[in-house]
Symmetry: C2
Subunit: 306 residues, 2 copies
């Protein structure tokens, strides 16, 4: 059983135009909405994080989804399900972290949700709402031939940080550990593009990795994307990891934004282009070219259902 297989079952059952992007664009209400769930020991471990950082990151990843749509993040609701032995302090620190994330991203409020008991794991589900206003809203199906591919910042840092945490390193000032525990949603990048473009563009965050985002855009837009590995921004320090290429390409949770935009767009760092070719992503690395179909990418990325 795999996530993508189940999503296609949901799509065909609902026959809905909304399922596809991370955010649903509800035009009649002038909003986008997204929902994400995080489950203890699947999506996070209290071995590596604390309640404050957990609240911070849970909120930030939902804000990031709104940013990927181009809308202005406005409100969140949070549903927490907690084992009965959870201390009150956990709830307080979790919400303090969430509130800090909201404040760092502008005028965002936690407007509600619920709290219930759970058997033995912590479940967090967050719904985020963004206002579309006069912004140009993206879709992963909007990439077109001739556009360039841009990214908002460094790739790979978060998964490098997770590796360090898994090795027992608890240095919260370390750039990678910090990138993993306290990612930042790309508020300004999103705002710049959605306020200053008037054409169709594709945008996604790299929550599941850069290649996965590029592959999803290629598939939904039915285009071929050419990526130049040497142009992908990353911290020089990541090169001490054995598999640093993989961290940059397939590591998730950086929450950078990657977009397919017109050539004259002045934002972000150019890493490739939409070019003639079959649907998928060609990675140009060390004078070699490797083509990845959506299926190839699915084999590489981590799947919580495996």
């Amino acid at each position: 059983m795999k996530e993508k297989e189940l999503i296609s079952i949901i799509k065909s059952t609902l026959d809905s135009k909304y399922i596809g992007d991370d955010c649903a664009y509800l035009k009649d209400l002038g909003i986008v909405v997204t929902q994400d769930s995080l489950i203890e020991d699947i999506h996070f471990s209290l071995e590596y994080t604390n309640p404050y950082n957990l609240g911070y990151k849970s909120v930030m990843v939902n804000i990031s989804d709104i940013c990927a749509s181009g809308a202005e993040p406005k409100y969140l609701t949070i549903s927490l399900s907690l084992p009965s032995d959870t201390e009150n302090k956990f709830v307080q620190e979790f919400y303090e972290g969430g509130k800090t994330a909201c404040q760092q991203c502008g005028n965002i409020e936690i407007a509600g949700g619920d709290i219930t008991g759970s058997k033995d794991k912590i479940y967090i589900s967050i719904c985020a709402i963004g206002k579309t206003g006069n912004r140009n809203i993206s879709s992963r199906s909007y990439a077109t031939l001739g556009q360039k591919i841009i990214i908002s910042g460094n790739s790979g840092s978060s998964s490098a940080g997770l590796k360090l945490l898994q090795r027992g390193i608890r240095d919260f000032d370390n750039e990678f550990v910090n990138a993993h525990l306290k990612p930042r949603a790309q508020i300004d990048f999103s705002k710049n593009i959605s306020l200053n473009t008037n054409y169709k563009y594709a945008m996604m965050d790299t929550s599941d990795g850069l290649m996965e985002a590029l592959s999803a855009i290629a598939k939904e837009s039915n285009v071929h994307i050419d990526i130049d590995f040497s142009k992908i921004p990353h911290s020089k320090n990541i090169e001490i990891f054995d598999n640093w290429h993989d961290l940059i390409l397939f590591g998730g949770e950086d929450y950078q934004l990657v977009a397919s935009v017109d050539k004259n767009c002045p934002y972000g760092i150019e890493i490739g282009k939409v070019s003639e070719g079959k649907t998928g992503v060609t990675l140009n690395i060390d004078s070699k070219s490797v083509f990845y179909s959506d299926e190839d990418i699915n084999k590489k990325i981590y799947n919580h259902f495996k």
Copy 2:
């Protein structure tokens, strides 16, 4: 650790005007939003229900929360977290049930969400969005002296149905079993009141029981509510249960709406009034009067954290 204690921690941490009602009223966007989570073996058991009915009820209870605000239910997002051995059929049937609930309630769409793995329990979190338009939005703090208390329909049927299911009865045509497994959100009652009133009124659904809803309204509005037990609508058949008074008063999940409205309001069934007295609910039953403070009610109702 109790739900209400944790909600007060969240309230004081966030210092938010939104936390309090089941729905948050986001005036600048013209919407209300609510989120509820259901966890296997805490909120439901697959011993008593099936995936279709589970999807139906999960969606219906969130639509009910929107109805309690007076807004028009419009969209839902659903987050499902499933153990890896869950069959694809579960997902399809769950969404078919959810879709049916949406269709029965009018023009409501499931617009997104996510699907992830979980350790060993099914976890469902649903976010619902309602449009406020020209409707008069309720708050549980809006009950005022002189108003009457009305209810949309029968109380107690759902918890009677749960009792039958727990006794091994699987007769899905039984009125109580049906009321428990396939409750109906009170779409018309909500619409009538919110479109045809121009004063402040309180409204809640009876998801946690009639007395709990009345007590919450009394507490948040700082009023005294007088209830005449003999006026509370219920199925005559419920009187075969030993504790049928308790089922009607404290049994949850009927998803009726209870409201405090002006005396001339022509909707619903009158069961009491807002009268002089200390904050709480007086129940008049068999020529006795029993006063319940919010604390008394909390001791009676089922708490998932206990």
